[in-house]
C-alpha cells in the first residue's frame, strides 16, 4: 500500500520544479514546456484524489485539462512561430515591447 500523500507530495515536487523552470528559463519554448509540466503535476493530484474518494469526476477533470492543454499547445506554439518571424529571437528578455 502506498499512502495517497506520497502521490500528492510527488505532484507538489513536480509542480514546484515547473514553477522554478518557468521563472528561471530564458528560452520561450522551455518556459512553455514548464507550463505543461505544471499542468501534468496538477493532473496527478486529480487522479490521486479520484482514487482516494472513489469518484470518476477527478478523472473527467484530467480529461478536460488534457483537451485544453492540447488546444493551448497548438495556439501557443503558433504564437511562438509568429514572434520568431517578426523579432527573430526566442529569448524572453528581448521580447519586452510592452514593458514601460
Amino acid at each position: 500500500m502506498v499512502p495517497t500523500s506520497y502521490y500528492l507530495i510527488l505532484s507538489a515536487i513536480l509542480f514546484t520544479i515547473g514553477v522554478a523552470a518557468f521563472l528561471i528559463k530564458r528560452n520561450i519554448i522551455t518556459v512553455f514546456m514548464s507550463i505543461e509540466l505544471m499542468l501534468n503535476a496538477v493532473n496527478l493530484s486529480f487522479v490521486a484524489f479520484a482514487h482516494q474518494w472513489h469518484q470518476v469526476s477527478g478523472q473527467i477533470f484530467v480529461f478536460f485539462v488534457m483537451v485544453v492543454a492540447a488546444a493551448e499547445a497548438a495556439v501557443g506554439l503558433a504564437i511562438i512561430i509568429a514572434i520568431f518571424r517578426t523579432r527573430n529571437t526566442l529569448n524572453v528578455d528581448e521580447i519586452d515591447l510592452m514593458k514601460l
Binding site: 506520497y6 520544479i17 484530467v62 495556439v75
Partner: protein, 164 residues
Amino acid sequence: MHLVLFFIFGGLCVAGALNLLLQRHPINSALSLIVVMSSLAVLYLLLGAEFLAAAQVIVYSGAIMVLFTFVIMLLNAGREERTHGSKAAYLVGFPGAAALLALLVYVFLSYREQLGGVVLGEYLVTTSDLSRVLFHELLLPFEVTSVLILVAILGAVALARKEQ
C-alpha cells in the same frame, strides 16, 4: 511491489523534471519532458486510471511533445544564453519555489492520516465507466470542447500563416 513501482517511476518523473530545469538546450528539455509524461502514465495505471494512462501517452507524450520538438527544429533553437534577467530570476525563483514546496509538503504531511492509502487494483475506472459519465451528465461540456479545439486549430493556422 506497488511501493517499488511508485518509487521507480516517481523517481524517473523527478529526475526528468530536474533534467528539464538543468539542461540549456531546448531539445534536451523536450526529451526529458517526454520521460516525465511517460512515467506519469505508469503512475496513472497504478492509480487505476487506465483510459487516462493511454490518453497521457497518446495526447501528451505523443501529440503535444511531437509539436514541441517540431517547433524547436523548425525555429532551429540553439542553447539559451544567460542575460541580465537570469540573475534576478535565480534570486527570486529558487527561494520562491522552495517555499512553495515546503508549504505544500507540510499541508500534505499534516493530513496524511485522513488521506489513507492506495491499494493496487482496489479501485479501477474502466473506459466504459468514464464514458458513461462523459456522455450522460457532461455531454454539453464535451461537445463544447470540440468547438474549443476547432477554434484553436483555426487560431493556430491564422497565427502561423505567412503574411502576404
